[in-house]
Amino acid sequence: MKSDLKDWFVNKNPVFTMAMGLCPAIAVTTNLKNAAGMGFCTLCVLVASNATVSIARKWIHYKVRIPCYLLIISMWVTIADIILSANFPVLRQNLGIFIPLIAVNCIILNRSDSFASKNKLKDSIFDALSTGFGFFLVLAICGFIRELVGSNKILGLTSIGHFQGIQAFSYACGGFFCFALLFAALNAYRTAGKHQ
């Protein structure tokens, strides 16, 4: 279990290994709640669309596969959007335009094209779960860091004394910095592992 977790986060993580899905990752991670919500939405859409693509893989012609995958993904995104606006209107308001933008998230299209279109339903679902969980973890960690540093809060509750937080981390640039530092830390960790 522990090695699986490490595998999902470090070695197979879609954000860190392929630098994919950065836009939602940077944009919505201003606090932990939004980040986790976004990660969970992406995870659900990823699993559903991977399963659909895997079932329909025999009927999709190679030449029109990308538009077909995009349509399948956007169908699931639309369903997710409807469910969200019915049950979690506040979260949907916060995520705003990034919910429809899940449809063009490179991670989902990449998994559909390179995995689900060639593999059986069970494998595709497992692949989607592991990829989506990796993405979810990255978003949650980044959201946690940015909320803590940017406004000195954890899940909306003030954590340490009267410290106001570094405002820049709540802005766009904070997302860039946070991801740059995470990437660099991971790179350092990897190269350190190689030398041993």
Binding site: L70, S74, T78, D81, I82, V104, A168, A172, C173, G174
Partner: protein
């Protein structure tokens, strides 16, 4: 029609104040796969401007005359994605037929424009923020916003391509090589773009 000043203000505000990449953080992913050559980055930027303008206009018309009349708001995402796919495909065909010398360089990045979040985001934003204005001006305004967003994207691409070229000649700590340093510099540029916030012509020239 809309006075010239308001057109200019809308354009500048969507290009600089609400820069789609550095402030709204939409369309960041393609930066990591930005072409090495400046000329190719320029080509990609201008293609995005064109696709945004056309897709935004077509999407606006479809939204206004088909989706809104039949109460089919929730189909927006699917319809816009189809529109973008078709437009990109059309551009590919047209360039192949009429401008074969440029086809090779364009075909390398055209597929990535289909999944460029910025194009879809511009389509959605153009429809949702302006749907309550009156018809004629809001179509013109949304087109101006689309083109402004496109040029904002072009500006971001040019900036990042220039920064990447400078970075190649500097010595960077090993863990930061590649993507991390690019993200860090993007963060600094984005910080600079915050300086544009609150910018209007009235505050600048006093009306």
């Amino acid at each position: 029609m809309i006075p010239f000043q308001s057109v200019l203000e809308t354009f500048v505000s969507s290009m600089l104040v609400n820069n789609i990449v550095f402030i709204l953080m939409i369309g960041v992913c393609p930066f990591c796969a930005l072409p090495k050559k400046m000329s190719q980055s320029l080509g990609m930027g201008f293609t995005v401007v064109g696709v945004m303008a056309v897709a935004g206009a077509v999407g606006y018309a479809l939204n206004r005359y088909i989706l809104m009349r039949n109460n089919l708001f929730y189909l927006q995402t699917m319809v816009f994605i189809l529109v973008i796919v078709i437009i990109v495909q059309l551009i590919e065909l047209l360039v192949e037929k009429f401008w074969p010398s440029a086809y090779e360089s364009i075909s390398s990045f055209l597929p990535s424009i289909t999944t460029n979040c910025a194009v879809l985001a511009v389509c959605i934003m153009a429809c949702n923020t302006l749907s309550n204005h009156n018809q004629a001006s809001s179509f013109a305004k949304s087109t101006v916003v689309n083109i402004g967003c496109g040029f904002g994207y072009l500006l971001a691409v040019i900036l990042m391509a220039g920064i990447k070229r400078k970075l190649e000649m500097t010595e960077i700590p090993r863990p930061f090589k590649g993507l991390p340093i690019a993200l860090l510099s993007a963060g600094l540029v984005s910080m600079a773009f915050i300086g544009f916030s609150g910018f209007t012509f009235t505050t600048l020239f006093g009306g």
